[in-house]
Amino acid sequence: MATTYSVSARTRVATISGIAAIALLGVAIVLPAFASRSLIQDLFFILTMLTLAQLWNLLAGYSGLVSVGQQAFVGFGAYMLFGATILWGVNPVAALFLSGVFALLLAIPTAFFVFRLSGAYFAIGTWVVAEVVRLSVAQWQAVGGGTGTSLPRDARDKMWGVEWIEALFDVRASAARDILAYWLALALAAATIGGIYWFLRTRRGLALAALRDNVEAAKSVGVDAARMKWIVFLVAAFGAGIAGGLIFLQNGRISPDSAFAVTQWTAFVIFIVVIGGIGTLEGPIVGVLVFFFLQELLADYGAVYLIVLGLLGIVIMLFAPTGLWGFFARRTGIALFPTQRRLEIKR
């Protein structure tokens, strides 16, 4: 009797969804040729929120780090982009990378502090750190202090690729900048989802899932919980920094209040993750779509939109804590991004 064992992580749904994802990515890349400018802007918004949601999901959904202070990294990344372009004359597109790096650097002392805390204290601690960063940045007069500042025209004009896009699609500079920002957001979102997916399929990713389920047990089978926490926190800060830089690069204007807005960069992101389904890669994708369509639907009702969003978040948390995707997946068993390793036995 020769029994052979092997691991497989492939499913048919995943193969199909993989092909679909690549096709979708292809369509998304060429989309600016057909789409209206407002659609491009909407997609930019969706993609950046999706990136932030995936990163927060990595933090809270997989690592139990319920941070209410991600706006610290979004805002700091954004401000470093403005600082780098205005004060040091860096090309804004190149400065995006600096956004990530500086957010990462900020995350190191932050982690030293907040990792001393746990649970609710951790959440509040991250928030206070974000406030401290906001208030400190508001003192930085070279980028406008509490008023904020705008991306200077010179910097904007020399953004890589804008002229090329202008020529390619025959659009005005402002529309070309939107297209560039959209492509960058697309790349960022794809890299974030792809990166997280890849990570979850590595040995470390499995350990992360184990930690999510049971910290004590994971430690007892040799999982380095502390290191995982560090990795995840720093990665999330890096990604949030780039996303922040990109959002405000597209925006063209920054102020401490908008860059460090807890509602926009954390509360909404949390809603997206929870509505979609925490602890899954699909959840934030579903969540961001729901979030966006709600916004479109209720755009004319002002604050009512936020009231509905808040109520929806509450209702989902109370009655379907695994979110819309969790609800769907439990019934169908479908996973678009399977990370489950199956033991195949051939006799």
Binding site: Y5, W198, R203, L206, A217, S220, V221, G222, I345
Partner: protein, 287 residues
Amino acid sequence: MAPSTSSSSTTRPRPTSRPRASWSRWPDRKRRPGHDAGPPSSSEEPGRSAILSLHDVSKSFGALKVADAISFDLPEGQALGIIGPNGAGKSTLFNLITGNLAPDAGRIEYLGRDVTRTPPMQRCLAGMGRSFQIPQPFNRLTVFENLLVAATHGQDRTESDVVDDVARILERTELIEVANRPAGGLTLLQRKRLELARAMATQPRLLLLDEIAGGLTDAECTALIETIRALHAGGVTIIWIEHVLHALTAVVERLLVLDFGRVIGLGDPAEIMDSREVKEIYLGIEV
């Protein structure tokens, strides 16, 4: 989609637990007979060095003293049973040994090194494997993945390296049928088996088992005894907390009795079981 990992398909008969290949963080990692484990203490069996020694280890929860100056040496390769009434501090003792709890006082040596402040994860890498009394599966992972985590992290190994080992452990613990089911859906019995299987997957050198025999049928119990005996025969040192005494006495060479966090008996199982104190305190039957 990334290609899936797959393993080589050989089925060499190999003991589930083999001598440790590497122990990267620790310099004196080789298993040396007669290896000096600190001061040569009251080791009853000369020739076998202590893999684990506790020196006056104490722990309290508030006013409740659950470990009271516990000291003992455990020679490498021995199987030690621990018994004691509910709440005596048996599970707490495990948590102290594995680092899930920090002692208030005292010192714990493992393989001759002071590990009192070493985090549990490093103790695991150094070869301590454990099961939890209340099963602690990774609920959203499959049974197979539960073992995979343990096998790849308890030992620095890649997934494809460990597949065969993991599968063999699953067969041994009769979990192979449910290998691809989420652990959260297992019955209590299966969870208990999973506890044992996962501990085995870390390829421990010292295996700590907390009440894994409760609720088994006679046949299952016999199978369990066989599994543990085989591990023991493969050179693994074992500490086993158990209320099912006949299972315990079938395996262990020495018995430790805990009561109120104190060691009230340590020695040959038969003698210990026969002692008046134990009968009174543990069985509650007046002799």
